[in-house]
Symmetry: D2
Subunit: 336 residues, 4 copies
């Protein structure tokens, strides 16, 4: 079977990493077209892998040498680009968010529905991380009993002043939204946000860290610590608590090095990964391989448009919860 020819829209950190992975570590894919609003960057990236550039994203989507599309452009551009892929009937891997709000996200779900096929895959890469996949399998095995609680910790080293409380929900907690929906197999029914005193590293008016609490339809409670200026590194940790057992993963324990610290005291331990690419590189690779394999036969293999819509709906409620301090219900629309 010939390689899947992929257009990549947006080659910032995420898109650039996807180009690298698709071009060097995934079987059966060729990145044929690069698009970026910064044409110089597009030219540089395309040159490094022998692709061509296209200055108009819609032209890239509709090009003859493109079989499928990866969208890593700014979130405001996603809706139009995904709809163009649906119009042409080709598979697309869209980084979160699906669109900028639940209403438009639901429209995309409906548009996909009208094609009669599943063409839109969302870039929730954690589903492909071996630890998350093992936890899902353990839950589904029934060994833990019915799940009652989920505890999540999500910490970043640092973020710029633009990264406000709402972005902490829509750009960061969105991953826990998908993790909770994936692991629990059900929808989130409400969101609440608690704000402790903020770190002095946060800009005026930004609540960092926050405790975000989801409640699912069946009554599972999910606690999420989101702390995007924790000054250490990238930490993503999850604990699943069931009636008969629990599992905790994402601790950084991969080997123990012993060295003297700056004060001469002996220290055991290791390095915390600085960022999400270091932590989740294997997950991204597995995600892209699954997507390419599925796209070569015209489908997807991972979270879909509905997952993107549900995440958008929960995040919208979360932003409201940040604003009001109330428990905000999540109501999902119908695609009928």
């Amino acid at each position: 079977m010939s390689d899947l020819r992929v257009a990549v829209l947006g080659v910032g950190m995420m898109g650039g990493f996807h180009v690298e992975t698709l071009s060097r570590r995934v079987h059966g894919a060729t990145v044929s077209v690069i698009n970026d609003y910064d044409q110089a960057k597009a030219v540089a990236v395309a040159g490094s892998i022998g692709a061509r550039t296209e200055s108009d994203p819609l032209a890239a989507i509709n090009a003859d040498d493109v079989d499928a599309v990866v969208i890593a452009s700014p979130g405001t551009a996603h809706e139009q680009q995904v709809l163009a892929c649906l119009d042409r009937g080709i598979p697309v891997l869209c980084e979160k968010p699906l669109t900028v709000d639940p209403v438009s996200a639901l429209e995309v779900v409906k548009a996909e529905r009208r094609t009669g096929k599943q063409l839109v895959q969302l870039g929730f890469m954690r589903r492909f991380d071996p630890e998350y996949a093992a936890a899902k399998q353990l839950i589904d095995s029934g060994e833990l009993g019915r799940v009652l609680l989920l505890h999540c910790v999500h910490r970043n080293m640092a973020n710029g002043p633009h990264f406000d409380s709402a972005m902490m929900i829509t750009d960061s907690v969105v991953h826990e939204v998908d993790v909770a929906r994936f692991l629990l197999g059900e929808e989130i029914a409400s969101v609440q946000v608690l704000k402790p005193t903020a770190t002095s590293a946060a800009p005026e008016g930004v609540s960092d860290p926050m405790i975000v609490i989801f409640r699912t339809g069946s009554g599972v409670i999910v606690t999420v610590e989101i702390f995007v200026r924790a000054q250490i590194g990238y930490e993503v940790r999850t604990e699943v608590v069931g009636e008969r057992g629990s599992t905790l993963f994402g601790l950084d324990q991969h080997g123990i090095t012993k060295l003297s610290g700056p004060d001469g005291s002996g220290r055991w331990g290791g390095l915390v990964p600085p960022g999400f690419i270091e932590r989740f590189a294997p997950a991204y690779q597995i995600e892209l391989q699954h997507w390419v394999d599925a796209a070569r036969t015209g489908g997807i293999d991972g979270p879909g448009a509905w997952d993107g819509y549900a995440a958008a709906a929960v995040c919208a409620a979360g932003v409201e919860a940040v604003r009001t301090g109330e428990v905000v219900p999540v109501t999902l629309g119908s695609i009928e």
Copy 2:
């Protein structure tokens, strides 16, 4: 210096363990008098260590051969017994609760204040656990920066049907109340309780597990998972999150054994301690040694009557929060 002669009131599991520790592993103490409402049990315990019994707890407190008192009787008896110790002016180690409600607890604080001495020590043994003590030291060193969040997990293997949602607060979460006050060095200002779907192991009407949330005066948020029928063992875990670092302790990682499981698959790991005595035996021993050392010179060395009162006030708010689902403020009285 001659040994401190101790009367132990109540020799159930906790009191019996204290008798054993005082009589065999603590320097400078002799248990001279045993009291229990079950006289046969008192006689048996007294016989094993060469002590005498006293059928009336107040007589025990006032006996000539008693220099100090350990109260491990039912909580309803504590108020009268502590006041009798204060009347006589001798040191007392009182298991939680100090009394059954905040009003009476505050009266005990005032009664102690009138003696002009600190005579009442509360049995919050975790303050003496080496891991908690190290965390306190780490916080106080400033290395973590200002503390913003505390995450606690408190799980028991099993509990009888009488152990209802209110007792989960007053008998279990009371330890996290003291841990939070101890580690953070400030009072808790409000309590909120979230109830996920209960485990099927819980009796009708009991919310097990629960998520309890404290907010301190300065704005630190404390999350507590309390789950008293978790079916595995005794797990007490704490994470302190500061502006510049975090520390997590209470993981069960003391040695790794590899064996085949019942299904023939290889398994690494170890045993979870079944109960609090296995987990905290060294802490109890250190607690009693500190108390005996202080009591021999007429004082205390550990959490005092105010700590008992504050815990009672927070727990009363917690019980209210269980009932109402609201954020319940904690207002502490004045001892002036």
Copy 3:
């Protein structure tokens, strides 16, 4: 660039896994030809990926639709097959052993030398394992100081009665030979083998477990526990001890699950991987990607023929050490 067309010789467990990896998870490779002495198996594997079969391995090596070769056939066939690849001047990835003895291995090194190119890569996959690679980087950073000791543990769940003491050296310890040479960057100068009482699971006359001791030219000592019937799972652990620090990796600590054991006691821990494919699947994938990338430009990227020869020489000394109980020196030949 067009895909590298690969012939895979031998599709047992290892070769079959390589076919799967090359065909589904590696960029830029197509398995075009399958050879196995069991033609039915060759046909089955070839059919699953759209390749053709070739009943003669030398014909496969010389076929027009073959650019490079993976050798996973029995060790006795390697010499002739590698030499045929050298004759044709195409890259080859050869599973260990390079050949069955040091003399013939040295001949292969010389034959490769005469081609003027590096064409032979050995399948020592651990060099591509992220933990080994990180340890190598840590050593090379100088942070541990000069390395003085290396401790290795290598345990398998089970092995058949044919797997005798000599095979424990040539098939299992051979990996530690390469690990030691890789991490230390120098040759092994002598081998000694110590035999404790054997496990009752070992056949009569087989010394399982054994302690194998290497000494390098500069005086580093390497201890290896090899235990191929340990009944638990696959455990490969390494500790590097330097003048100023140490690093230990390969502990199984990737997440902590808590469940009740068969006796009702609570247990924390996780699963030990059953075999080397579960443990090293990512390493194999990285190894093959590196090899494919290099082979597409006619070279190799990993351990070479000399590494295969050196391992053969150390293993031959090891087999002698098993027999005699003496310290057996390793003398490496010259390729001039």
Copy 4:
């Protein structure tokens, strides 16, 4: 029962710590007499606990206010002091070594035998460490199957230039000698010592680190890494490998702290204890409590004179093995 009145001979670091423990953390003991060749130090220590001094150790042993003796004087003084205790017929806790050589140690064993009682306990405190005790229990439960191998690591932060290769055996490895005999329940039959290149922190002529190998009568092999200038802290780690399972303990994993390192990279881990007192303080306390409890009824409760003799014999063979590089057999004398 009245307190055991203890004379402590030698109040250097070890003896001083014992005085502290006996006087403040052990039930039923009073340190009545202090002796040290440095009388000023004896006076200072005695003053701090209300004891008196005795400038002659034999006078201390025979004093009316002494019921039992702790010997923490230099090893050369032990023989005479232990024999004096035996002459008087009182219990003694003797720090290792029992005496300076196997011949004299055997004489002590015989002298004790003539008293008809067990009066001599050796200060091998690891037997009282909860981790070692749990490992012993696990071995004895049969869950691991027959033990085949023991791997020990013993590292110190630093040592002075006087601490030569022989002392590394007699002062450090002596603990592993006792650990091996304790865990395995049998005698060590031979010793071999391997010397890698020494750390540059070692004085000329001192082999630091070394690999020491014991073989027991039944064929178990014990590997010991002894490294007394490892520059990090105090690390004592043990792995027991049986036919059906293994257990590894002594890893430093008691809580995970995350902080930024000096280079700004995030680091997880904790502190390595600097010395043996920090690591084994609870074991010393348990050891002394056991000894005091037994001594109050005239006996011992722990390793005895024979264990001291056997350790001396193995260490003498070890020193010979350091010198010769050969496998040196250990032959134990008879006490008949």
